[in-house]
């Protein structure tokens, strides 16, 4: 029978590979499979790497954006329309609560308007109710010794064995303005040496401070050049005679302790009433320097209280955060002859890679 016209006869060169050529077919298939697997593996690695690179770039971009946002808070802080005093009634707070663009949340906190455990004369614990805040078995003398042996400390947690956690974080700080009239002379000498590298000169400085203390004399701003000598540029304005604590933000326990201390052996007349007046005033408006000095009206040795209490904040913590990270700046107000300025002392970024909100 003649083959039908519509039934093609396969030619030898158009036949699929099979039979004796089946081995080659399997080999070809294996090679293609191998290449495909390799390609898939490479794609997976590339994809993972690309994701890591993208994540790294996004993180860096987010950090830059948050730092810009935090610096915008700092710029607003520097433009305070009432630079003579800082209070909860300054316009900066509405800027902070409004937040920034792209869902950035701001935070601002006064770091220095509390008793500085690095700087404080421990007599403040011995002579006032501040001592009651210590953990059982802890004493002011022990605190002084601990600080002399190991301090000063950069982190408040170094004092965790001395105070309950809530008290430690609410009433105390380690970011204080170093006022030479209120700071313990041993710490002043340590800071002098750390700042100048001249240990013998720091001992001479300590002796000079003791002389002022013996003579019950306050150090004035005009005394600082003589006191610091050649090291004035390194030491001023880090060390100064500006009031340490802003009464607009100071915790009540600290305020009452400072106002009840027996300066020159005698407590302030109406110390309790002064504390009540400050607390009432700051609930409704800014406590100004004029109001404070008029209210306290200290004379003689009791003028030391106005070295503790003032109306300016020296250290601030500024936060800017979003769902992928946060930036924290610690800034310090630097007193100037015409106007004050700010400097950044800490700049920390933390990323939340999971994108958790909080």
């Amino acid at each position: 029978m003649r083959p039908s016209e519509d039934t093609p006869i396969p030619s030898s060169n158009s036949r699929p590979l099979r039979d004796e050529e089946g081995g080659a077919s399997v080999l070809l298939f294996a090679v293609v499979l191998f290449l495909a697997a390799g390609a898939i593996g490479a794609m997976a690695i590339l994809s993972t790497t690309a994701r890591a690179v993208r994540q790294g770039s996004a993180l860096a971009a987010n950090r830059r954006m948050l730092e810009r946002a935090a610096r915008s808070v700092l710029a607003r802080l520097a433009q305070d329309p009432t630079p003579g005093a800082d209070s909860a009634f300054d316009p900066i707070w509405s800027y902070v609560s409004a937040g920034g663009a792209s869902g950035v949340r701001f935070s601002l906190s006064d770091l220095s308007s509390r008793v500085d455990l690095n700087l404080v004369r421990v007599a403040l614990f011995e002579e006032t109710k501040l001592g009651d805040l210590m953990l059982p078995g802890r004493t002011a003398a022990g605190l002084r010794q601990y600080r002399a042996d190991k301090g000063p400390f950069k982190n408040l947690e170094a004092y965790a064995k001395w105070f309950p956690p809530a008290v430690l974080h609410n009433d105390f700080t380690v970011y204080g303005n170093i006022n030479v009239n209120t700071t313990f002379e041993g710490v002043l000498s340590t800071v002098f040496a750390a700042r100048t590298g001249d240990a013998p000169a720091s001992e001479v400085f300590r002796t000079q401070i003791r002389r002022y203390l013996r003579q019950k004399q306050l150090i004035g701003s005009s005394d600082l050049r003589g006191l610091f000598g050649l090291y004035y540029p390194q030491l001023y304005p880090l060390m100064n005679v500006r009031p340490q604590i802003n009464v607009n933000f100071v915790p009540e326990a600290d305020l009452r302790a400072i106002l009840s201390y027996p300066y020159g052996g005698h407590p302030l007349a109406k110390g309790r009433a002064i504390a009540d007046a400050i607390l009432a005033r700051r609930r409704t408006g800014e406590v100004s320097e004029q109001y404070l000095t008029g209210l306290i009206h200290a004379t003689g040795e009791q003028r030391l209280v106005l070295q503790y209490l003032g109306v300016r904040t020296w250290f601030w913590r500024i936060g800017a955060s979003n769902h992928t990270g946060s930036v924290g700046l610690v800034v310090v107000r630097i007193p100037g002859q015409k106007s004050d300025s700010f400097a950044i002392l800490e700049d920390q970024f933390s990323a939340d890679r999971r994108g958790k909100k909080g």
Binding site: A24, T49, Y175, Y232, P233, Q234, L345, D347
Partner: protein, 146 residues
Amino acid sequence: MGTLLLVVWAAASGGVRALGRVTKSIERSVEILQADEAVRAAVARIDVPYWVEREKIESRPGGLRIFYLDGNPSKWVDISFEKGRLSVAEEGHRVVFGGLAGASVRVAPPHAGASPVVILTLRFTDERVATIDAPFGGYPYPIVEQ
């Protein structure tokens, strides 16, 4: 058939070589990312107290030792390069990166509102160069011109 196999084999071996190069390049990129993260994380923990004059840095063979880790004057971060390996060490914890032809590390001093920065330059065996800038977390009160 033989020609076809030869072509497939040539393509496969070329592909494998290319894949090797891509993998190597990926390894480098990942190493740079890891080094960047490790160095930045370690240096961000350098928190110099505001009351000291300046940061404390010691030169050591192949690198630097930077003090004030977490604000503690006796704790430090070591960044050093030796025998093709970059090492970042702090508090008994050490991270090592290999495949390097050389590395140099220095600290750029602070300037207007910015912190001191550790600048680490890595040179890989394939001639690639990467630079990592890692800023300190905290730094001293500035000296103000009177």
